[in-house]
C-alpha cells in the first residue's frame, strides 16, 4: 500500500477524490437502473398484449391469430428487448437482474405460449436465447435470459395455458385441451424437482401452488367433458369421438 500522507489536507482531499469517483459511479449506475426498469416495464406491457392476442384464438381462426401474435412477439423483441440489451450493454447482467427480471419473465411467458400454440412444443431456453443474439453488439457479451427467469416465466405460462384449455373445451376442441393437460402436467412434474433448487425458492414455492391449481382446473374440466361424453355413449351407443363433437359451438360460427 502506498505511504500514508502525514498531513491533514492531502489525505482529506484524496478521500474527497475517491468519494467523487464513488459518487459518479453511483449516479451512473442508478440512472442506468432506472432506464432498465423502464425498458422492463415496456417489455411487460407488450408481452401481455401478445398473450391476449393468443387468447383470441378459436377453432377457425388459428393461423391468422397466431401469425399476428408471432409478429407482435418479434416486434417486442426487436423493439423493447433490443432497448434493454442496449441499456445493459457492458453491465453485469446479474447485477441488474431484479430491474429487468419481471419484463423478461413476461416475455418468456408470451414466447413459450406462442410456440406451444403453433407447434405444440416447449420453446427451449437455447432457442429463445439464440433469437436474442442478433440484438447485441457482436463485440460485447450478448444478453442471454438466465435459467431462473426462464423457469419463473414458464411457471406463469401454466396459468395462461389453463385459460386456453378452458376456452378450447368451449370450442369443442377436447383433444387440444387434453394435449394442454398433458403438457402442463409434464411441466408441473418437472418443476416439482427444480423448484427447491432455485436461487430463491420461496418465490417459486407459491408459484408451484398456483400451478397445481391450474393443472387441477384443466383436469376437472376434462373430467366433466368425459363423464358427459360417457353418459351419451352409454345412452346412445355412439362412438365417443362423435359425441365429443357435439360439444362444439360450431353451429353458431
Amino acid at each position: 500500500p502506498r505511504s500514508i500522507a502525514t498531513e491533514s489536507a492531502p489525505t482529506s482531499s484524496s478521500m474527497k477524490d475517491s468519494f467523487s469517483r464513488y459518487a459518479e459511479y453511483l449516479n451512473q449506475f442508478n440512472d442506468k437502473r432506472e432506464r432498465v426498469v423502464k425498458a422492463s416495464r415496456d417489455i411487460t406491457i407488450n408481452s401481455k398484449k401478445v398473450i391476449f392476442q393468443v387468447h383470441r384464438i378459436s377453432k377457425n381462426n388459428k393461423d391468422e391469430v397466431l401469425q399476428k401474435a408471432e409478429k407482435d412477439l418479434s416486434a417486442v423483441k426487436d423493439q423493447y428487448i433490443a432497448r434493454l440489451v442496449n441499456e445493459l450493454q457492458g453491465t453485469d447482467f446479474w447485477k441488474l437482474r431484479r430491474a429487468y427480471s419481471p419484463g423478461v419473465q413476461e416475455y418468456v411467458e408470451a414466447a413459450t405460449l406462442c410456440k406451444f400454440c403453433t407447434s405444440g412444443t416447449l420453446l427451449n431456453l437455447e432457442e429463445i436465447n439464440s433469437l436474442l443474439l442478433p440484438l447485441s453488439d457482436p463485440s460485447l457479451e450478448p444478453l442471454q435470459i438466465n435459467i431462473l427467469d426462464y423457469i419463473l416465466g414458464l411457471a406463469d405460462l401454466t396459468g395462461e395455458l389453463m385459460r386456453l384449455a378452458i376456452g378450447r373445451i368451449s370450442d369443442g376442441e377436447i383433444e387440444y385441451a387434453e394435449k394442454i393437460c398433458r403438457f402442463v402436467r409434464e411441466i408441473y412434474r418437472e418443476l416439482t424437482l427444480l423448484a427447491p433448487k432455485m436461487d430463491e425458492s420461496w418465490d417459486m414455492k407459491s408459484k408451484m401452488d398456483v400451478m397445481l391449481q391450474s393443472v387441477m382446473k384443466i383436469e376437472n374440466a376434462c373430467f366433466s367433458v368425459h363423464v358427459r361424453g360417457s353418459e351419451y355413449t352409454s345412452l346412445s351407443g355412439m362412438e365417443e369421438d362423435t359425441s365429443y363433437a357435439l360439444l362444439g359451438v360450431s353451429e353458431f360460427d
Binding site: 391476449f52 378459436s58 358427459r228 351419451y232 357435439l246 359451438v249 353458431f252
Partner: protein, 227 residues
C-alpha cells in the same frame, strides 16, 4: 401564522370533501338498497315465475335508480373535475346496477345493453359518465347469473333456453377477448366468464343428447321473453 392559515384552509377543504364523501356514500347506500330489492325480484326467474311479470316489477325501480344517479351527479358536480377522486365510493354499487340492468335487458330482448345505452338508461351524461371498466365488470357479474338461470329453466322444462344463452354468452365472450386487460380485478372476473360459458355448454349438451331441444322452432334469435 401563514402556516396556520394554510393548514386552516386545508382543514376546511378536507372537511368539505369529507362531507361530500359522506353524502356520496349515503346515496351509494340507497343505490345498494334499491339494487338489493331489484335483485330479490330478479331471483324469482330462477323459480320459474313468468318473466314479463318479473320484468315489470324490476323495471318499476329503474326510475328510482335514475333519481339516485342524478343526485350523485349533482353532488359530485359540486366539485368539478374530481369524479375520479370519489369514484371508489360508488364503484361496486354501480357495477351491481350494470349487472342488473344488463340482465333485465337481456331477458327482455336477448341482446346486450351496450355502454352508451346503459348511460342513456340511467340518464347519465358526459359530466357524470359510466366508467368503462365498471361497465365491463358489471357485464361479467351478469354472466355469472346465466348458468344458474339455464339450470333452473331446464329444470322447469324450458329446453330451448340453453341454446339461446349459449349463443349470447359465446358472442359476449368473443367480444371480451378483444380487450387487452391488465392483471387486475376485471381480468379475474373475465376468467370467471369462461367457466360460466363452460357450464352453459354442458347444460346445452345435456339437453341436446337427450333430444330435448326444440327442433321445430326456427333458428331466429327470438328474445328470451318471447319463448
Amino acid at each position: 401564522a401563514a402556516v396556520e392559515k394554510q393548514f386552516d384552509k386545508f382543514r376546511f377543504s378536507l372537511e368539505e370533501s369529507g362531507n361530500l364523501r359522506d353524502r356520496i356514500k349515503a346515496v351509494a347506500t340507497e343505490i345498494d338498497s334499491t339494487t338489493r330489492i331489484m335483485h330479490s325480484i330478479l331471483l324469482l326467474v330462477h323459480q320459474s315465475r313468468p318473466i314479463p311479470e318479473v320484468l315489470e316489477k324490476v323495471n318499476s325501480h329503474v326510475d328510482k335508480l335514475k333519481q339516485l344517479f342524478s343526485k350523485l351527479a349533482e353532488i359530485v358536480g359540486e366539485s368539478p373535475g374530481q369524479y375520479y377522486r370519489y369514484h371508489g365510493d360508488w364503484r361496486s354499487e354501480t357495477q351491481q346496477v350494470v349487472s342488473l340492468l344488463a340482465f333485465t335487458h337481456w331477458l327482455e330482448t336477448g341482446s346486450l345493453l351496450i355502454h352508451t345505452e346503459m348511460e342513456q338508461k340511467l340518464e347519465l351524461n358526459s359530466e357524470f359518465c359510466l366508467d368503462v371498466e365498471d361497465y365491463l365488470t358489471g357485464i361479467c357479474f351478469m354472466s355469472n347469473e346465466l348458468p344458474r338461470y339455464v339450470v333452473n329453466q331446464v329444470t322447469a322444462g324450458d329446453y330451448d333456453c340453453p341454446r339461446k344463452v349459449l349463443k349470447f354468452l359465446t358472442d359476449l365472450h368473443a367480444s371480451f377477448r378483444m380487450l387487452n386487460l391488465r392483471n387486475d380485478f376485471l381480468r379475474k372476473k373475465f376468467d370467471g366468464m369462461k367457466y360460466d360459458l363452460r357450464k352453459v355448454e354442458e347444460v346445452y349438451y345435456d339437453v341436446k343428447i337427450r333430444g330435448l331441444g326444440s327442433k321445430g322452432v326456427a333458428e331466429g334469435d327470438q328474445s328470451v321473453q318471447e319463448s
